[in-house]
């Protein structure tokens, strides 16, 4: 067995699993986080996408042991108790998802992109989503949703900046 401890969505989680367990299996079967989906299981479809140490990866292509000691973000960790994440709001507003199976992966790929680049071009969005296959919505609405999410996040960071400046100059 392999002992693993990692931070998942801000919480320390541990398990003892057979070495051949993938990160995806660990998340779904041991941690009961079923947002990441088992699609192709060979790294083509992106339904299992999660963010490990800031980078979007296929959790079906990582052994649980490789994630030991690392930070993992799954779709369950995106919203806070108070509100949806702006990317989720944007996908809801744009109708960017239909059946939703690919959604967790698509949103996390979008998050990885937007964490690096708050002003992505259409080409950059297409590139970031090229590892996430959708068989029902199509990609047009998704690309619009990511553009919309980028706008929401830019507004948010501007508002935070203004707020910080006001605080700093307050007597």
């Amino acid at each position: 067995m392999t002992d693993v401890t990692m931070i998942v969505n801000g919480q320390v989680r541990g398990a003892s699993v057979p070495p051949e367990t993938t990160l995806l299996q660990l998340l779904r079967d041991n941690f009961n986080l079923t947002g990441a989906k088992l699609g192709c299981d060979v790294g083509d479809c992106g339904a299992c996408t999660v963010i490990v140490d800031g980078q979007a990866v296929n959790s079906c292509l990582m052994l649980a042991g490789q994630a030991d000691g690392r930070q993992v973000l799954t779709i369950e960790g995106l919203a806070s108790r108070e509100r949806l994440h702006p990317i989720q709001t944007a996908f809801e507003n744009s109708g960017g998802l239909q059946c939703g199976f690919c959604g967790p992966g698509v949103l996390l790929s979008a998050k990885a992109l937007l964490d690096e680049n708050l002003n992505p071009s259409t080409q950059e969005i297409r590139d970031a989503l090229s590892g996430n296959l959708c068989r029902c919505t199509g990609y047009t609405k998704m690309i619009e949703a990511v553009q919309d999410a980028a706008r929401l996040l830019r507004e948010e960071s501007r508002a935070q900046l203004t707020h910080a400046r006001t605080e700093a100059t307050a007597p």
């Binding site: 070495p19 051949e20 299981d41 790294g43 992106g46 990866v57 292509l61 052994l63 490789q66 970031a128």
Partner: protein, 295 residues
């Protein structure tokens, strides 16, 4: 996946010791994007997986006295984001970008792509066109060999049990050599190459090709050079016609097969076009560098 043992190597010394100990019973895990798929399809039945993915010393990109060293565990994303590689070898950035998708590029490593050794690998052609060599370590020590000698056949390298690919070295004399990578797949995203091409040359006095290199992927059991096309270009005046002729010669040298992705004839036609394009892009690169130097 079938059950296997798992051990995570702490450093290079530990990894070499583990590989020496387990020999042919071990499989090396780096990025896992190929190995895990193979394990799921039961292509191998290893007793133990030696996970080398945490070896920091294999993740550096650095210029040393003998050239540019790229650690075997450098990921395709790392290559795309490396200021050194972006400046010196945009061809390697283009090749890295053409592999898989963001998620697989974040995991997959340069060393892994070379060692998996599929004929259509995208990392090979540009590196071969830049005369790259590789460093291999085992219990006896380290050795350096030309990258071309690593490739033996489809999914077959010259590495022996106990060997670990350490880094890829582009020789000092080739730093900044104008080079290009071209690929044609059936889609823009996540497609294997029907043909891919790496090309490089220096622009000599009187605007002639110097040290031209043409490397072709997916048209032979391993990445192959096109020696006749190279010989034709060597010393020849740089022109669009010469590039097109080199493409035609390379197409005759290629040994493609017909499969469900494309016919051999189609692949030959692609070789002619992609070689011409790669040479033209390398020339554009040379011109851009010259302007940079003047400015």
């Amino acid at each position: 996946m079938k059950a296997f043992g798992y051990v995570s190597a702490k450093d290079l010394e530990h990894a070499i010791a583990l590989l020496g100990e387990h020999g042919a019973k071990a499989k090396i895990l780096a990025g896992g994007t190929d190995l895990l798929v193979e394990l799921k399809h039961a292509a191998h039945d290893p007793e133990v997986i030696v996970d080398v993915s945490r070896l920091r010393e294999l993740k550096d990109i650095a210029v040393a006295d003998d050239g540019l060293h790229i650690g075997a565990l450098v990921t395709h994303s790392d290559i795309m984001n490396s200021p050194v590689i972006r400046d010196m070898f945009p061809a390697l950035v283009a090749a890295a970008h053409s592999i898989g998708a963001m998620q697989t590029r974040n995991l997959g490593t340069l060393g892994g792509n070379l060692v998996t050794c599929v004929p259509s690998m995208d990392s090979g052609p540009a590196l071969i066109a830049l005369d790259a060599s590789v460093t291999v370590a085992n219990a006896e020590g380290q050795r350096r060999m030309p990258l071309a000698e690593l490739f033996v056949g489809p999914r077959k390298t010259s590495l022996k049990p106990g060997d670990l690919l350490v880094d890829i070295v582009i020789p000092k004399d080739n730093l900044g050599k104008p080079a290009a990578f071209e690929k044609f797949g059936l889609r823009k995203g996540q497609a294997l190459a029907l043909v891919n091409v790496g090309a490089s040359f220096w622009v000599g006095d009187n605007s002639v090709f110097v040290a031209p290199r043409i490397a072709l992927g997916a048209v032979a059991p391993t990445v192959m050079r096109a020696p006749k096309a190279e010989a034709f270009l060597d010393g020849c005046k740089i022109s669009a016609e010469a590039m097109a002729e080199a493409g035609r010669i390379a197409a005759m040298e290629a040994k493609p097969i017909s499969d469900f992705r494309a016919s051999a004839d189609y692949r030959r036609d692609l070789v002619a076009v992609l070689v011409k394009r790669a040479l033209a892009n390398a020339q554009a690169r040379a011109t851009a560098k010259e302007k940079e130097l003047v400015a």
